[in-house]
Amino acid sequence: MTRTGMMMAGVWALFAVLAAGPAAAQDKPPLIVGAIYVGSVNDYGYNRSMKDGLEEMKKAIPGLKLIEAENVPETAESERVMEGMIQQGAKLIFATSFGHQQFAFNLAKTHPDVYFEHAGGWMQAPNFGNFFGATQAAWYPMGVAAGKMTKSNTLGFVVGVPIGYAIGNVNAFEMGARSVNPKAQTRVVVTGGWSDKAKEAAAANALIDQGADVVTMHVDSPATIIQVAESRGQDSIGFQSVAAEQLAPKGWLTGLGFTWGPFMTETAQSVIAGTFKPAMVREGLGQGMMAVAPFGPAVPPDVRTLVTAAADKVGQGFNPFTGPITDNTGVVRIPAGESWGGDKMGNFDWYVEGVIGKAK
């Protein structure tokens, strides 16, 4: 045996010893949960809200073990990561970003004894469920806040990817603004991706250049846009996570946040009890998954009352998408007497009157 050979043998032996070590069992947890995030949990946004929900779940179920992976792209790579978690013993997987759906679904087929919850999609199987906040109507009270607080009557909205759900958010926002301020207009800039900080900064600047004095967004992390608005002395409304308030001590108005904790805890408990039921869960304001963020110091009491009232209305079932509604080219999209319900929220490919931008 050559010296190199002995060295290699020694190294392998070392590995074998070390591998055996960790196999000595710790206390068996009641459940191992795996979660994948599309970005970093420190984004003051979507991923943060997911992380907060999972931490709540962990606190509520003593001994529960949570395996996490950040920056998991929405590609086949995610399948590999989730499979790795299953190999580590995970029996419940939260695939938290839209693009993870197909890959989580593939794994649901090959692992019938593991349960999956996906955020934002529609696929279902006996061990695969779907959940998300019903965001569109919730933007209405945000629009109310913006409409009341704007002085220039120009609002700015940065959209990451112009999917139907995002366009619906913009529409509800504008309609809310118009309900208290008929002159309010919303300008839209699309960055092309859910998370591109440089583009988001440039988009926010562009909107402010065009006169927007309240800026909001539908991107993964509101941080960059809020910071840009704050640095230019404009107001902002946040989205995804209520934690974003600390970024803009002066200009923060309010925001929408996701509160996933209760749902996640319920789901984990159902897996432990063996009573998991796949479902397409969509909860809006007042139903548990969404909340209005605290108001910033600049918002006067009468506006707070208005916004809270609008939020309560939505929580009780008010649907802003009730006809007649005209789009921004003059075409009537929702006739009088009709309304678009939750199932149609992905179908938006037009902007309402008052929005400056092209949806297609």
């Binding site: 591998a19 920056n71 792209p73 590609t75 990561v81 790795g84 580590q88 090959t110 999917i163």
Partner: protein
Amino acid sequence: MPRDGAALWDCAAARAKAFALVAAVALGGFATLLIAAGKDPLKAYADTLLYVFGNAYGFSELLVRMIPLMLTAVAAALPARIGLINVGAEGQLYMGAWLTTAGALAFADRPAFVLLPLLTLLGFIGGGLWALIPGLLRAFRLVSETISTLLLNYVAPLIVSYFIFGPWRSPDSSAYPQSPAFAEAARLPSFFHSRIHLGLVYALAAVVLYALAMTRTRFGLDMRAIGGNPEAARRLGIPVIRYMLATMFIAGGVAGLAGMAEVTAIQGRLVSEVSPGYGFIGFLVAWLAGSGASGIVVMSFLFALISAVGDILQITQGVPYAVVNILMAVILFIVLGRQPVGSGAR
């Protein structure tokens, strides 16, 4: 390369030993870095080995990762033989994926035995044509192929994005930017209840054909002549320009196959990120392998293994996957620093 069996074995053993030393040093250096960051590298290495060799899924994923690497490596190695530098495999991969999607969407109702060969051909042509542009520019002495292939790497994903946001936007997923899912018939089949797919056959075929072509055919000989001294080759009557164009087209085509495999086997549709840099890693694989066929297989295996370390670090220790690039780079740095590695003429 020695030709008799015993000498061949000695040569390979010596190279393996040298490389094992490099790997050991790199693993040690990387481990030190991880320890400084408060992590447990030895456990990670152990977990990786267990996962990859003690687990059918882990091993199969290794092979799945190797497929695009072997293809893009051949895409870089082939032109290297005649002295052309192709860093454009990434773009060629995307264009192969793009043309494949065009076919999959247009002919979605055909049966698999018609559709799959067609898509394979389209993938090859897509990548091939994309590489032909720099090939033409170089053959007619207009632009260096290193630059043009590099630039086109950035244009290709933009073309893909344009199509999936526009004409090919999927109507079913509420306009989330991706193409509609491919029909079952358009999906490259997998084996063994894993994700190992027919692309493995393509990759191995590419490597084998490459090796055979280089060593046993007239073309291979001519190409090595061009690679050694193009002026002399020209005077000997070898049509250098034709070889340049053909080589770039074939190389691009092989990279295009990697794109075709990604969208038909793994993703099942066209998405905006088709490749996480396989084209660049393939270039490095080819370079480490000295453009030799067996080296390509070995190095692809090594890089796939490194990626597995990255996965394990992420899942079990919360280290961002990206950090594993350090390990990869350190190995490359050490090899780069040890001795001048041959640039292709072997």
